[in-house]
Symmetry: D3
Subunit: 257 residues, 6 copies
C-alpha cells in the first residue's frame, strides 16, 4: 500500500492518430499519478460495431502485455465497449479496468437507476449485454444515443453537448434515469457542461459520469488498496501454439506456463 | 423455402490440423444437406481461455465473409465459446449459428434445467456468462468439467466417455440437471455412449445434446424456413479504415457501405 | 439418426372444421417429411381464454397418445397457447413441440429481443406467463394484438396483414423488438407479406416467425438428432383410476405402470 | 364489507371418495364462516402428474360455476397444483384461491425464504414453475418430497409426520428455508406436529403452513375486504361453441356474452 | 386456533395527532376483532422521506414491545414505508405486519401486475426497493403519485379521489397494471370511490387495495392460523448495552437474553 | 477536481469507545487525504441485528449533518449494515458511502462472484437483502460467518484470521466465490493475512476486500471526480415538525426547505 507515484496506462484500441494524447489526461489525475498512453497499430479507426471491437482486441492485448512488462501499475482500456477486458485480465496480473464496467458500478452506487448516452443507436444492445454481464442490469434505466459517429464527436463540440443534454434529459424524464454515463470515451471532458445543461433544463443534482477519469481514479484506488482482478475468474491461459500473434506464444507468455 | 440441396459451412476456429474433417460430418446431416469445412490459419491451437477466443475471432470472421461470398447458405462456428458469433452476424446476411447458443435453447425446450459438461474448470464462468447473454440463465443447472484439455480429448475416448457419464450423473443428482450439453465440440460423437452410460447408472431418458450436429440441423431448419438473424440486432458495420485485416476494409466489405 | 421419411402429426386443439387441412402444410415441409393432421372432437371452437385452453387439453392428450400408437415420429400442437404441452410430454416418448415455446427460443437466437403479435389483448398475460415458464422472459420485448378474433382471421386477409404489419412496426419502434412472432397459428402463411410490409415501412431485416412451420422444422431436426423431451422433467404418470377419460386409464396407458 | 356469515366452498379435484369431508374442516374456520365441500366426478383418483392435473380441470371448472350460481362467496381449490385456477377466475366473479399461490405469498411474508415439502420428487418442477408464475421464485429455497403417494398419506400418519419433519429439517439446514409449506393438501392437519418435531430437532420458531386452512382464512379475509381477482387479468371468456362440456357453452355461461 | 376475540394494535409512526383514531377503524374489522391504536411521541409529523422513516423507527419499536407486553395478538404498522418492520419482528413474537408488504402480496395474488399510487414522486424509489426486498418486483407494473403531501390528503377528499382515479387509470392504460394499491395509509377509506371512478372511466373489475384494512384482515387470519414470522429470519437480538433507548436495554428486553 | 488535501470523516455507528481510533486509519489513506473519526453517543454497543441497526441510525444521521457543516468532503459509515445510508444521502450533499455497497460493487468488478464472510449467522439475510437492493444479487455467491460476536473480534486475532481463512476457503470451494469481502468493519486490517492463509491453503490470487479502506479510497476518488449521490434518488427531505431530534427540525435542516 505504498504511496509512491502510481503509473497507469491508458490503452486506446483504435488506430486513429490524435484521438487521444497525454495532454487530455493531465487534469484528470492527481500529482501522485502518472498516466501514459498507448495506441494499437492494427485494428479499426473507431469502434462502432461488434466487428470493430473484435478486430481491436488482439493488438489491445499485446499492449496490455507490454504495459505489464514495462512496470506499469494498472491499465485502463480507452473504449466503452471494454474490448478485450476479460482476456486482458487473464494475461496480466496488474489491474485492468474497463470504463464501461467501472462507470456502471459507480453509477449503481450513486443513484437508483442510470442511463448510458452513447454515439449510435446500433450499439445499444452492446451496452444492454454489458450491463447483464457486469451484473447490474436491474440498475440500467435505458441506453440512448446522440447519433453522432465517434470520429465526428470533436467536430462540433457545441452540438455534442447539446445532444448529450437533450438525451440525458429524456433519459431522466422518460426512462427514470437518476445518473448519466457517457457511452463513448470520445465524449471526454463534457461532463461539467452536461451537468450545467441539465441544471438549466430544470434537472439539478444529476451525476454525469465521464468514464475515462472515473476508471483512472478507480484504478488508482485499486493500486492504493493492493487489489487486482481474481485469478479464479481470470486464470493465466494455458501455454500453447498460437499462429500470427507472436507476443502471445508460449515463449512470449512466460507467466502462462 | 426451396427444398434444393442446402449448403452449410462449419468454420473451425483453431489452427490444429486434423481436428475436424468433412468425414466426421457425413453421418450428421441428411442427403439434402452438404457440409463443408474451413479452418482458420491464424489463431490458437485450441480454445481454453478468453485469450484463445479473442485471438481466434479475426480469422474466423474472414472465413465467414468468404463463406457468404462462395454462396454457402449458413455457417456454424465449431466451438462452444461461439467465438465471433455477434460480429459474424453483422458482416453476413446468411444465418450464423453458435453451437452453445443453439444447444442451450434446444436444451431449454427439452427439459426443466440443463447442465453443460465441458473440458476445464477454468472456462466455467464463460458458459455462465453465455447463458446470461443468451437469456437462458434461469434454465442453467450447472457447468461441470472433465478436466481433459481439448487436444487430449481424442487420446483416450474410453476415459472421455467415462468422465462425461460421471459428470453428467453428478449434474443430474447434485445440481438438478434434466438435460446434458457437451461443453466442447471436440466431444463430437459421444452422445449415444453417454446416454447409454447414464442408463447403466440408473438415469434413463436424459437427452444428451451433441452441439455440432444440433447446430447443423437447426441451421438447415432455418434455411428451410427462410429465417436469418435480425439486422436490427446485427446491422452491417459502418465502412471505415481498418488496419491489418484487409478483408474487413471498406473495399472488402461491400455490403457495409 | 436414420434419414428415412419422417412422420409428424399436427394436432389441432379446436373443434372448428376446416380451420386446418393437410393442404395448408404441403409447402411447409420438405420431401423427406410427411405431415398428417388430427383435430379434437370435444373442446372449444377456438382458443381465446384460459377456459378454452383448459377444455381443449383432454382431447388433445388423447390425440397425442393415438399419434404415438400409430407410429408417428413427433407431434406439434397447433395453438400458440401450447395447450397440454407438459402433460403430453409425460404420456408419450416421441418429441412433442409447442409452437410458442419453439418460436420463442428461435426468436431468442435470432435477435436481441422479440415481440409476439397475437389476436386479442385479453390473452397478453398468457404469453407473458409462457415466456417466464420457458425461461426467456428477459428476451420478450412486448406482446401486442391485432384485436381480430381467431375465427375471423381468414375473413379479410388484407386487413389481417395490414394489422400485423402495423403492430409489428410499433413493437419495433416503441418496444424495442428485433424479431416478430405471430401469436396465433391461424395467422399461418402471412410471414412473407408481413416482412414485405415492414420493409415498405422502412424496417428491413426483421425476421418474422410463423410458428407452425417453425415448430414442424424443429420437430424434424429433433427427429434427425434422435432427441426428445427429458423423462426427468416429464416422467410417465403413475397408473391410477381415472374416470371419464377411458384412454387415460391404466389399461390404456401401458407405458405408465 | 358485511360481517354476515361467509360461505366458502372447497372444491376437491380428485374422484377418490372419503378423501375430504366437511368434518375435516370444522376446526379450521371460525363461527362466522361456513365451509362446504364439492368433489369432481370425472378426473383422476389423485393428482401426481401434469396429466392428472389436466384431466382434473374441466370438472373442477364446472363445480366453480356451480358454486357461484349457488351463491357461495368464495372458492378454494383443494390441491397444491392449483388446477384450473386461472380458468376458474375467468368464469366466475367470486374470489377463487389456490392453496399453493396463497401459501407461497403468506410464506414470503413470514420469512426470508421458504421450502415446499411435497409427496413425490416427480412433481418438484411443477412447484418451481408455480413459484415463477406467482412471482415469488426468488423466495423459494427448495422443493423436497417425502416420497409417499397421495393416497397413502393417511395410511401411516406417524411415518408421514416423521418424514415431513425430516425433510423440513433438511430444507432448513441444507437449503436455507425459514418457512415450510406442505406440498399436498392431503397433509392437512399435520402442521402442529411438524412444528413440534422441528422444535425437538433444535429448530424452534419455524412457521409451517398448512395450505387448506391458510387459503380458507385468506378467502374469508378477501370476502371481508370486498376484494376479488382482477377482471383485467381474468376477463370473462368470449361466448363460443364448445363441444362436450355443456355447462361451458354460451347458454350456460350467461356472464360471458 | 381459538376463535376468541382477537386483539390487533395499529401503531401509527408519526407524531401528528388526530391523523388516526380508533373511530376510523370500526367498520374495518369484524365483531370478533378489537383494534386499538397507538402513536409515537418522538419522530416526524409525517413520513415522506428516508429521513422521516429513520426517525420514526425507534419509537415505533418501543410501541411494538409495549403492545406485546399488553397481550395484544398482532400489530400492524400504519405506514406504507413499513418502518421498522424487520426490527419489530425481531423483538416480539406476535405477528407484525407492514401494509406495503401485505398489500403487495395480496395484489400479486389478485392480478397479473399491480401499481402503487402514492403521495409524492420523491418516494417512488422506496416502493421499488420494497418490492425487490419482498420478492415481488416482477409483479410491480409501476409506482405513480398524486403529488399531494401526506398531511394535505384530508383537506380536499374530492381532489384526492379524482387524482387517485386519474393515476390509477394511467397505471392501467400506460403501465399495464391490473390491480391498484394505495401508496399511503392516509388514503384510508377511498377504495370504493376509486373503484367507482375507474368503472366510470371504462375500467371495471379492477381491485383497489386499501392497505390498512387489508393488513388488519390478514393479521386476523394469521392469528386464526396460529402463524407468526419465522424466528430463523427474525431471531431475538443479542442482549447488549444500548444508550438512549432504555426500553431496548437488556433489562427491558427480557426475551433477548 | 482540485487536488487539495481531501477530508473524509469515518462515522462509527456504535457507542463502544475504543473500537475505532484515528490511529487505525493512518496507513489506510494517502498523504493527500485526512481522515477524522466521529462516533455516536446514543445507540447500541455493536450492530448485530436489525434492532441494533435501527437504533444506531438517528445519531448517525446527526453526525452526518455535523460533518457536512464542518466542511468535511465525504463521509464513510463504519458498519457493514450501511446503517442510515439512504437517509444520510438525503440530508447532505457531500458523498456518503457505505462500506457494504462499495465493497460489493468493487468485488463485482474484480471477479465472477463474491462471498461475504461476516460475524454471525443471524445477519446473513441482511447481506442478501443488501445485495438485492444494491443491484448485485446475481454476483453474490454466498454469505458465511465466523460466529464471533463483533466485540470479541479483537480478543483473539489469531483465531479470527484462522476462521476468516477457513470460511473464505469454503466460500471458494463450496459456493463458487472468486472474491472475498469482510462482513464486519471490525475485521479491519486482516486482509493481507487472510490472502496469505488462502495462498497456504492452495488458493492464490483471490482478492480479499477490507471494506473500510476500500470505502475511504473510493470516497477520495469520488471527491477527485467531483461526483456525489444523485439528488433525484436522494432529494432533500421536506421540512416538517420533528419531535425528539432537534438537529433534524426545519430550523436545523436549512437545506431542506
Amino acid at each position: 500500500m505504498a504511496e509512491s507515484r502510481k503509473r497507469i496506462r491508458l490503452v486506446t484500441p483504435i488506430v486513429t492518430e490524435g484521438f487521444r494524447t497525454g495532454d487530455d489526461l493531465g487534469p484528470l489525475v492527481g500529482p501522485d499519478t502518472e498516466v501514459s498512453v498507448a495506441q494499437i497499430v492494427t485494428g479499426p479507426a473507431s469502434i462502432e460495431s461488434e466487428l470493430d471491437e473484435a478486430l481491436a482486441v488482439p493488438d489491445t492485448l499485446r499492449l496490455l502485455q507490454e504495459a505489464e512488462r514495462e512496470g506499469v501499475g494498472a491499465v485502463v482500456i480507452d473504449c466503452m465497449g471494454d474490448p478485450g477486458l476479460k482476456a486482458a485480465r487473464e494475461i496480466v496480473s496488474i489491474p485492468v479496468l474497463g470504463p464501461a464496467e467501472t462507470s456502471m458500478h459507480l453509477a449503481a452506487m450513486l443513484g437508483h437507476r442510470f442511463s448510458v448516452v452513447t454515439v449510435m443507436d446500433r450499439i445499444v444492445p452492446m451496452f444492454e449485454n454489458s450491463a447483464r454481464l457486469y451484473g447490474v442490469a436491474e440498475k440500467l434505466a435505458s441506453v440512448r444515443s446522440v447519433e453522432i459517429p465517434v470520429l465526428d464527436l470533436e467536430r462540433d463540440p457545441e452540438r455534442l453537448v447539446e445532444a448529450l443534454v437533450e438525451e440525458s434529459r429524456r433519459a431522466i424524464e422518460e426512462d427514470g434515469a437518476h445518473v448519466i454515463i457517457f457511452g463513448c470515451t470520445g465524449m471526454l471532458g463534457c461532463a461539467a457542461r452536461v451537468e450545467e445543461g441539465l441544471l438549466a433544463a430544470g434537472r439539478p443534482g444529476v451525476p454525469v459520469i465521464d468514464p475515462v477519469p472515473a476508471a483512472l481514479r478507480v484504478a488508482a484506488a485499486l493500486l492504493d488498496l493492493g487489489l487486482t482482478q481474481s485469478k479464479l475468474t481470470y486464470p493465466a491461459p494455458p501455454a500453447k501454439r498460437i499462429v500470427g500473434f507472436p507476443w502471445a506464444e508460449p515463449a512470449g507468455m512466460g507467466a502462462a506456463s
